[in-house]
């Protein structure tokens, strides 16, 4: 089958969606499909730019290429699903969140003036009109599917993606630090972890990832006197990431209302428990307290007490990590691809 995988690309950024699209392309090719990844740079600001980007995707003609039909298009997130194709399947990573659950919240982009309000509504319209064209509609998590249904009335089957395939390994040694992995922006709430470390002087922290919130987090770390206990590792390679997971005591992952998040799966494949919060969204579909982690209130004291408990109970921490691994291993590319290509 000739398949185009469509994904917007924030230039010079690499995160979960990019990894998802790349891995999907690779896995499809492994199964004998002819696959192209279609990327278009995405810029969502200022103001109505996100709408212009939807138009750009709509103008892409990929019904055929070099006089041979493209059999299937798999679109991943806003605005790539605005693309027009007679056999469009959407595997929804997320809609444009600033126009939905992040609107009028701390992480929102739009104000209250008529232009911004109408921009939000126009994005909703783009979604309603272009998502309903999909022949099949999947969402990477129940959280994303629920948001879709609330906002458009469309229903999607939940199809969680497997985590990136690295040579994860586990270790019986006591964990050395609490690990945070992910893009550094405010919505990821790494500051909760830093504030928790300030409350428990025995906790060491490694923050892996880059992003616009890094300077603020480094300042916060200095203000709380965490120098020496918090390491900002920046963007790390695959080998280093695997090593960090293996050496960690636990993984902290508590973004606000996250779509899905690969991090818990990666932690579980390294047999590490995950600490998250009640309002984290997608991660709550895989992190189960007490089976494989701890789910606590989104306040520093609760995070500190969860991490301190795991540090004081290393056997239990390892047991929870092992339980997580069993859950993570159930999600495979074979089942995902069967459903996406309609086998």
């Amino acid at each position: 089958m000739r398949i185009a995988v469509c994904a917007p690309q924030v230039p010079f950024e690499r995160g979960g969606t990019e990894i998802l699209a790349e891995t999907l392309v690779r896995e499809l090719r492994t199964r004998g499909h002819e696959v192209e990844e279609v990327k278009i740079p995405f810029k969502w600001y200022p103001r109505a730019s996100a709408l212009r980007e939807a138009v750009v995707w709509r103008l892409v003609d990929i019904e055929e290429a070099q006089e041979r039909p493209v059999d299937l298009v798999i679109a991943t997130k806003y605005p790539s699903y605005a693309i027009r194709h007679s056999n469009k399947v959407v595997w929804l990573v997320h809609q444009f969140r600033q126009a939905y659950e992040l609107d009028r919240a701390d992480f929102g982009q739009f104000g209250e003036d008529p232009f911004d309000r109408a921009t939000v509504r126009a994005i909703h319209r783009v979604d309603r009109q272009t998502l309903r064209e999909a022949k099949r509609l999947f969402a990477i998590s129940r959280n994303v599917a629920d948001r879709l249904e609330r906002s458009t009335g469309l229903t999607a089957d939940v199809l969680p993606p497997p985590p990136q395939q690295l040579d994860y390994r586990s270790s019986e040694a006591a964990g050395e630090f609490v690990l945070s992995v992910g893009r550094l922006d405010r919505a990821k709430r790494v500051d909760l972890l830093l504030e928790a470390a300030a409350l428990d002087g025995s906790l060491n922290v490694v923050v892996a990832g880059e992003g616009p919130d890094r300077n603020r987090l480094e300042r916060l770390s200095a203000e709380r006197g965490l120098d020496g206990r918090v390491t900002f590792a920046g963007r790390v390679g695959d080998d280093e990431l695997v090593d960090l997971y293996a050496r960690s005591l636990a993984v902290f992952y508590a973004p606000f209302d996250e779509d899905f998040g690969f991090v818990p799966y990666e932690a579980f494949l390294s047999e590490r428990p995950v600490v998250t919060t009640h309002d984290a969204g997608g991660p709550l579909e895989v992190v189960v307290d007490p089976e494989n982690g701890i789910v606590c209130e989104p306040v520093p004291s609760a995070v500190a007490s969860a991490l301190s408990w795991l540090a004081a109970n290393p056997e239990e921490a390892r047991a929870r990590g092992r339980a997580g691994k069993r859950r993570a291993e159930e999600v495979t590319w074979d089942s995902v691809i069967d459903r996406l290509v309609g086998a």
Binding site: A48, L51, V55, R58, P114, A118, R121, A122, V126, T130
Partner: protein, 408 residues
């Protein structure tokens, strides 16, 4: 967003005043709203968009049309036919030329000549017998940045009338029912109720005749006609017939009580001015089966909650048959009642209606500027690569824009 909200409000007695009394608090939870007093000459300061509730009554809505003339905005069109309103604002104020112009706008030279006849007293007032043929909605629509209406019927009529702006169909909200008390309706098997302003357009003569036929098979049936009586129907004792009970204007509590007491609510129309029936929605929210005319908004009610009667030569026979069917089938009434409750909850829920209002207001207030911003970027890019105004490629681009809801 700051919204100027123009509407009749209680203590004015009108369906639209009641409507706004219900809707306004729900909107105030979602938007910053300023409510100009009746007759206000100036739009409230700092408002970014104005919302005008317009119906067919010149006394209630004349000042709102005046405000719309000063500042275009979003029009909530409660009736499609505004002939009576326009006649009141023109002829009613000694402005014959205004009426002539409105009729000419609707129907060309013929319209102007008819208007002359009316203005000169040579023809009876058109609004009394042919208003639906001359809706005179043109001026209001020409000043509307967007239209909110309650039925696909009005949406379609506005489109046919040439209105090209955005239209949003939002159901009328259902009122929360009041606490019920002692029975208002007489006992009967079954009890039918027809509530509201009782005029010929409510098909009262046809209803009375059909009810008389019903009584032959169901002698215990009762029909309650509640509300003020218009001059175009006769409802003195000699015209009522056996089993018919007249009640004058009821206060809100008694009105709800009557609807709760009855087994079937009859809400006929013919012709329709594009209106929605608040009484019918009240009845639905109480889980009462409806009998309605098969036209306008009434046609859009699902068959599961309303039995529909054509407004033509079959009307009397079919109305009789429908009433007999409901009178003789307890299970049908029960099934329709349950469906009515569910329908009212689903379609006429106040919070849902308010959310849809906010969406429509936000889209209509800022939508043109957003579309212009995106279109100008796309047009500039097209121009920079040499695609001109008349090139076929531009038509393709325009089609793509329309497909994502950003076209003109």
């Amino acid at each position: 967003m700051n919204v100027a909200y123009y509407s009749p409000l209680p203590p004015e007695r009108s369906g639209i005043a009641d409507y706004s009394a219900l809707l306004l608090p729900a909107l105030q939870e979602r938007l910053d709203i300023a409510v100009p007093r009746r007759g206000a000459q100036r739009s409230p300061r700092g408002t970014e968009v104005a919302l005008y509730h317009i119906g067919n009554n010149p006394d209630a809505h004349g000042w709102i049309v005046e405000a719309l003339r000063r500042r275009p905005g979003i029009v909530v069109l409660h009736d499609f036919v505004l002939h009576h309103l326009v006649a009141g604002l023109t002829l009613g104020q000694g402005d014959a030329e205004g009426y002539l112009e409105a009729m000419q706008r609707d129907a060309g030279v013929v319209g102007r000549m008819l208007a002359h006849g009316v203005a000169d007293g040579l023809l009876p007032p058109i609004w009394e017998y042919r208003a639906e043929d001359f809706p005179l909605t043109g001026e209001v629509l020409s000043r509307a940045d967007g239209v909110i209406c309650h039925s696909k019927y009005v949406e379609r009529r506005a489109g046919e009338y040439g209105y090209a702006g955005p239209i949003s169909v939002i159901p009328m909200p259902a009122w929360p029912s009041v606490e019920l008390g002692a029975r208002v309706a007489p006992e009967g098997r079954p009890v039918l109720a027809c509530v509201g302003y009782l005029n010929a357009a409510k098909r009262i003569p046809q209803l009375l005749e059909a009810f008389a036929r019903l009584r032959r098979r169901f002698p215990e049936a009762r029909l309650v006609l509640a509300g003020a009586v218009a001059a175009d129907v006769e409802l003195d004792d000699g015209h009522l017939g056996d089993g018919v009970v007249r009640l004058d204007h009821l206060d809100e509590n008694d009105l709800w009580q009557l609807l709760a007491d009855c087994d079937v609510c009859v809400s006929l129309r013919g012709p329709t001015m594009g209106e929605t029936s608040g009484m019918a929605i009240r009845a639905l929210s109480l889980g009462k089966p409806l009998v309605v005319s098969d036209l306008g908004w009434f046609s859009e009610l699902p068959d599961s909650v309303a039995l529909k009667v054509p407004v033509d030569e079959r009307e009397l026979d079919e109305l009789t048959a429908v009433l007999e069917r409901l009178a003789g089938d307890d299970e049908l009434r029960s099934r329709m009642g349950a469906a009515a409750l569910e329908y009212a909850r689903r379609e006429h829920d106040l919070d849902r209606v308010a959310d849809r209002y906010v969406a429509a207001i936000e889209e209509m207030a800022g939508g043109p500027a957003v579309r212009d911003a995106v279109l100008s970027e796309v047009a500039r890019a097209a121009g920079e690569v040499g695609i001109g105004r008349n090139d076929a490629q531009l038509a393709e681009i325009a089609a793509s824009l329309r497909e994502v809801g950003l076209g003109r």
